[in-house]
């Protein structure tokens, strides 16, 4: 399954399901799960990209949330957070850093 995995870094997301299956066969449940998750993410990114007219394709979960926060789409970000089981700790780190970056100090106060 390493072979198939190696393809991934070069090729497109279409391979993800193949890789995922390979992982399942090799009894690597985490990896398989993450692959499924990623393909889900790619789909979501496509719809979001057209919706907000921004390029989100190929980003990781974390970066996607970051981009959404930058655009001020808190709702979408929250949705991804619950969809992909992002731990609270990390999410709040992101929010805080993000708010600080945008210098929205009064919002930061609200926490």
């Amino acid at each position: 399954y390493h072979f198939k995995n190696a393809i991934e870094s070069k090729d497109l997301e279409s391979n993800l399901s193949v890789i995922g299956n390979a992982y399942t066969q090799a009894r690597c449940t985490v990896e398989a799960e993450l692959c499924a998750e990623t393909s889900r993410l790619f789909k979501l990114q496509k719809t979001l990209s057209t919706k907000y007219n921004a390029s989100l394709n190929g980003l990781s979960v974390h970066d996607t949330i970051e981009q959404l926060l930058k655009m001020g789409e808190l709702k979408e970000a929250e949705k991804i957070r619950s969809d992909f089981k992002v731990p609270d700790r990390r999410f709040w780190w992101q929010r805080i850093l993000n708010l600080a970056e945008q210098q929205k100090w009064d919002e930061l106060e609200k926490f």
């Binding site: 870094s9 980003l59 990781s60 700790r89 990390r90």
Partner: protein, 609 residues
Amino acid sequence: MFSYLTSQSQRFNIQLLQEAAYRELIQHLDRIEGSTVIALDEAMIGPFTLVTKPKLFAERAIRIVTLKPDLVFPKDIRNIVYILRPRVSIMDQLVGHVKCNGLVSGRQFHILFAPRRSCLCINQLQNKGVLNSFSRIDELSWSFLPLDADVVTMEIPNAYRDVSIDGDTSSLYQVAIGLVQLQRLYGRIPKIYGKGVQAQRVWNHAKNLGMEEKALYNGDKGAIDQLILLDRGIDLLSPLATQLTYEGLIDEFYGIRQNKLSLPAELFPSDKTSEGRRPDEYLPQTSEKKTILMHSGEQLYAELRNKNFNEVTKLLARKAREIHTQMHATSQDKTVQEIKSFVENILPQLMAQKKSTSEHTAIAGLIHEQVNATTFADDLAAEQDFMVCADIDKPSAFIEDKIARKADIRNVLRLICLQCAAASGLKDKLLIHYKREVAQVYGIEMLLTFSNLEMAGLLHPQTDSRAYAVLRKSLHLTVEDNVEVDPKDISYVHSFYAPLTARLVELSLKPLGWQTLKSQINNLHGPTFEDFQAQLIGIGGRQAGSMVSECSLLHVPRVVLVCFVGGCTFAEIAALRFLADQEDNNVEFLIATTKIINKNTFLDSLLSA
């Protein structure tokens, strides 16, 4: 040839090794007639400078160039010698060269593969139809090359990775060849101790190779009394931990390559400020523009390199004070004679010394800045928590925070691996947790990296025996109330953690040390083995052992060759040097390694796909 390779106090003359390597190169070159260009592959430049000086080639009117795809040689050159690592990827470059440069009549191409030729490379040349253009294909059997008076290296940066991830064991074989070569030069080694799978394989190879050479088994006991073969795989914690010796820190921040440190020149104060009036405590140091040579031939550096960084600052401050007082002393010498001799004899030296002091102060200053950064302290604190096994089974909040802030992935992975090494494996749940976190933040490609690390044995599910936790207690790997200044124990190199490898060596020096050690390190991965090469009639290994102890009774230092299969760190070298300095050990080390590594280079070699 290189002054830094010899030191009077040493029984072991490493220059023999350098000369042997040098001779071999000369022999090859002498067989070639006419004007010559040597093309070096990138990976060979380092080893090359360890063995030769530019003067040699100037004398023979040989030009040296770096191998590049679009290299064009002048028409009047008759011979082109390639000195290469046997890598297939380089062969394509050669093909290109031959095709565009081979038209000149009478021109000959030669290849010297270092350290060994590979069938793959030759086949590749054959397939491209250029093999016939090469008049000679030979081997340059360099294996261990001298780096310093007590360090030899093979300059194979990826040895650990090759074996554990790619399954390429040629580097092990090469180490074995190196060991046989060492024995050829210095006589056979009577006692061999070793630990670890790879180490054992090396020794089996070496034994087989040695069988063929009767010479190794006749003759008297050689210059080396004992060999300790250690596998990098038994101690993955030490290479990942931050080194706190001066040399180790320099290496981690700026990278020392073959004794050379390159720093941007503007960081250093200009050397022409005032005339040198410093006392002659240090030998002059050679330095070219931005490159600073770092080896024990330079006294100040030899003194500083192995010290804990906290001590270095103090040491430099004390030096400065000493210099100050001596400066006053010289200014009171009023007789013309004295001043004359001062100017003639000491002044040139002093200029150089002043330069070296100011250089090291500058470097120390740079490092001080980095060390004082909060991130450094935080990382270190996290590391040290793991080392004392604090909260080792829980997801570390510190690592989570770092992931959340999308910190440097290398550092994150390093800390995870460190935790794994200290806990002797991560619990399944924890490993999954980390994988999820990292994959979500840094992208799914990280799974590849994880699989690499798992294959390399840096990440693995927890086993029942908690090797590290047990050894930490039984071997005192972490020492409380440790002093960094004037240390009493090797643990100063990581502030309070003693590298397992160095500790093993320390304990094995004691009478019957290895025997007691054997039971203690049983739960470490890989076999423990020992071997005796004494073939004196009727005398078994036991007596060979007593022979050695007789030697040490006579206060002749034992020479112990410590061979790290898979690389070692400057901190480990520092620890071994520290042991050698202790009076009661009465021992001299020769350290052999595949490559000097540090936490960054070690991980990088594993991470690259």
